[in-house]
Symmetry: C2
Subunit: 500 residues, 2 copies
């Protein structure tokens, strides 16, 4: 490996965190800005991560009884208008289709054939799915209706940032309808728990599940819940949301059913979603100054084999051994799947090749050279250790240890992230003054867990600090104290932080 004491990513986290993020995304070849304002191109390595996220989350969504379906990209204005809060929440960021034809006029291509009713490119699908649900639900026997959709959505964005905030993004949106409030509330929390366990077990992101304060609710929701993760700059990232919508959308769309008691009633609905934003969260949680570090469960390659060929006459023996190493490892299972391993045969200098895989975040790099062929060993580099630290391991031992090794890296990344969050969470801040002081420096941002009286008017003072209540954790202490904002008596525990 060539690079001496400097890090592979410039600037480092300490030097400039936002630029470090962009540099990691670029160095890992995850995505790039497109010339189409606010839209990104997700490159193969980034998309392969998304596919692994999709596949594993989809399994969990199906295991909890949901079925996938697909609804139109376009929403008529009249649909959107039905739920007043909803349309107000999204009106500012809607891409609007007004024509369905292009014509050449004076050598310039211009829109032609105006639509009678403009169409909005879906920013979310409650209204258009509600329209179908109204047709599908007639009787209590048709409930619960448990539907999920994988789709692209568009929310116009003035300050786009790869994965974190883009005009178009990919996501899944669950939409369910239930006969009773209790069942819909249970669904809302069940899916929040699916997101929590997925984030922690698969993405190695420690998250805090909780309820959003009223001022942070999804437009049209009765209750909004979120999982919140801490990034390495101490800011929060909302990593997933689950909404209890009550009868707001079922009244708007007419999702009515004949109940077993012979009464016509409006259904109770929920919706919940996570998006490609999760990839941004993975980068900002696990990457270091040498680039990305991927939790094995979402690593497109668990391991790459890097042949080292000092002399041309050694080439065939080394390559044959490299293939053998890859073949042996792909016969091993981790997490119910074959280990994803390949040999990097590209014609590049060994140091450069090795560093590329460091930056892309592959959990394991396996160098094999002439001596390894003889000794039937590999030089093992772990991405959760310093990049130059290597260990010579007999191939047979590596084959046996592989599942444990990957799980150890998965657990390590989770543990490191959890320790980071714990070390940057303050529970001793009791007054507005202390809070101002804490968030003023900006260098040591983090979470403040403190008491809140529950009065939404009180959060206004947070704006100047660029701080918000992220959520009220489901795990409440129940103790009484003083509201950190108003000094009034308060029992709620709330998480305060700056956020993406």
């Amino acid at each position: 490996m060539s690079k001496a004491e400097t890090s592979a990513i410039s600037p480092t986290r300490a030097e400039n965190y936002p630029e470090w993020y962009q540099a990691v995304v670029r160095a890992a070849d995850l995505a790039e800005n497109s010339p189409v304002r606010g839209c990104m191109v997700i490159k193969p390595w980034g998309y392969a991560i998304w596919e692994l996220i999709q596949r594993q989350l989809d399994d969990r969504i199906k295991a909890t009884g949901h079925e996938n379906a697909y609804f139109p990209l376009f929403i008529p204005l009249s649909f959107l208008q039905k739920e007043a809060e909803h349309v107000e929440g999204f009106a500012k960021e809607c891409a609007v289709v007004t024509h369905h034809r292009l014509e050449m006029r004076d050598g310039r291509l211009v829109p032609a054939a105006e639509l009678e009713e403009p169409l909005v490119v879906r920013p979310t699908s409650e209204t258009v799915i509600g329209d179908s649900f109204a047709r599908w639900v007639q009787s209590y026997r048709d409930l619960p209706l448990l539907i999920n959709q994988w789709a692209n959505v568009v929310r116009w964005e003035m300050r786009p940032r790869l994965f974190l905030r883009t005009a178009e993004f990919l996501w899944q949106e669950g939409h369910t309808a239930h006969a009773t409030e209790a069942e819909a509330r249970e669904e809302t929390l069940k899916m929040l728990e699916v997101y929590r366990s997925f984030a922690e077990d698969v993405l190695a992101l420690p998250v805090i599940p909780g309820e959003k304060p009223e001022n942070e609710r999804f437009p049209g929701a009765v209750n909004t819940y979120s999982i919140e993760a801490m990034m390495q700059d101490g800011k929060a990232l909302q990593a997933g949301t689950s909404h209890y919508l009550g009868q707001n959308f079922s009244r708007a769309a007419g999702i009515e059913f004949l109940d077993s008691d012979g009464q016509r009633k409006f259904a109770y609905t929920t919706s919940w979603g996570v998006s490609t934003r999760l990839i941004g969260g993975v980068v900002m949680t696990h990457a270091d100054d040498d680039g990305l570090r991927l939790p094995p469960r979402i690593a497109p390659k668990h391991a790459v084999v890097l042949p080292v060929i000092p002399k041309p006459e050694q080439e065939s023996a080394v390559l044959a051994y490299a293939d053998e190493v890859a073949a042996r490892l792909s016969a091993v299972c981790y997490d119910g799947q074959s280990i994803r391993v390949s040999v990097d045969r590209r014609d590049l200098r060994g140091g450069e090749k090795n560093w590329q895989w460091v930056k892309k975040g592959a959990p394991l790099r396996l160098e094999v050279g002439p001596r390894d062929v003889e000794g039937r060993t590999v030089a093992l580099y772990r991405r959760d250790r310093p990049p130059r630290e290597k260990e010579f391991v007999p191939l047979e031992k590596l084959v046996t240890d592989m599942p444990c090794l990957l799980q150890e890296i998965q657990d390590n990344l989770f543990r490191q992230a959890l320790e980071m969050r714990q070390s940057r969470t303050r529970t001793d801040i009791a007054t507005l003054e202390e809070m101002r002081e804490f968030f003023a420096t900006g260098e040591q941002d983090g979470f403040v867990v403190a008491k809140w009286c529950g009065d939404v008017a009180s959060v206004e003072v947070l704006e100047e600090m660029k701080v918000s209540i992220r959520n009220l954790p489901l795990a409440q202490s129940g103790t009484a104290g003083r509201c950190v904002l108003t000094g009034r008596e308060a029992t709620l525990d709330a998480v305060f932080a700056k956020a993406y």
Copy 2:
């Protein structure tokens, strides 16, 4: 089973083929029209078929060395304009985004904030992907670039028809760039072969791979190839296309590279795609007057277990046995995957339940009643046999036979479709007069395989017959003869048909 001698679908194929198609799609609960003009809602059973198509085709696309990525939904007008033929081909069906905000004016929601440059919702992505390729390709070492995208696309449609022609549809589009013409041509044909084998082995659709005549080429392509399937009304359905684009798009987008000889050259590109239209093809090929028949490889359920409970006191024993049957079968593998089976416990009359699964096309229905519990048998109904034909099979035998049974149904559907195509393919039509006569009745439409001189001007006479040359099959006889259209000497074999 209740229904006596009538068929489950009305009208039948013979009575009204187009309406029969809509009725099958509705009865199988595959999809529905949405109030958004031209857009469809793909319902869970239809979407589950699409997921099986996606997963299996994706495996084949990856096995041939391609990687998935994701590109923007929106295309600036200036991009589209770069390739003259391309923009001309798509201008008439482009949905155009002109605003990025909504405002309430006089109680009405109206588009606000006009875009500087209107954006087109992608009808296909050659131009926007070409823009990325131009950045990604610098040297011959970056080639070949083998990319695939799963996405939604929009082509405005005045006469929509579920799956076959919809304004928005789902598809995959492959886009590749190569250093040489030979390599790009090889790729074009390789992917055509992937489509052929996928259509035949997975969808059980016999198809004819061949080259499109010049007048039917993709706008901007040098050569277009297709696979063509015959529907049960004798019409052709283009089920997939693969295009050799030469340097047309690489010149337009500037995909230039430094070759190993030190020269700067434009890359040679290809593109290829299949869409949700395939589901329409599956319906129109395999469904019968009782509803859908699904090839096992794309059946969301291979088998459903239907408990028959004459007396309440028999319920627990029958349901326990039904669960046992399902559990035993799901432990069996077919085509590398666990058999997909479930117990239908819904509170519905047995006849109605059975007919629902007939209409949905599940390959196997397994009735279990009190006598089956005692004798450890099941009453087996195969969807490739008449709906009332049943056979009592010992459970142990069924478990053993299951993979063979499913493959037999898969092969049966393919064979029946192939026989249908063969019986409706005429190779003895030698003159325009005979062709007119053949296609005039409309009742016995089919394929005409005849000689063609290759002169595109000659196909004009086909228009009044609503016939077109579907393709020039890759398997050419090489014999000489007379062009069926012009009477001139001709060696090309061409497939003539009406088409969807």
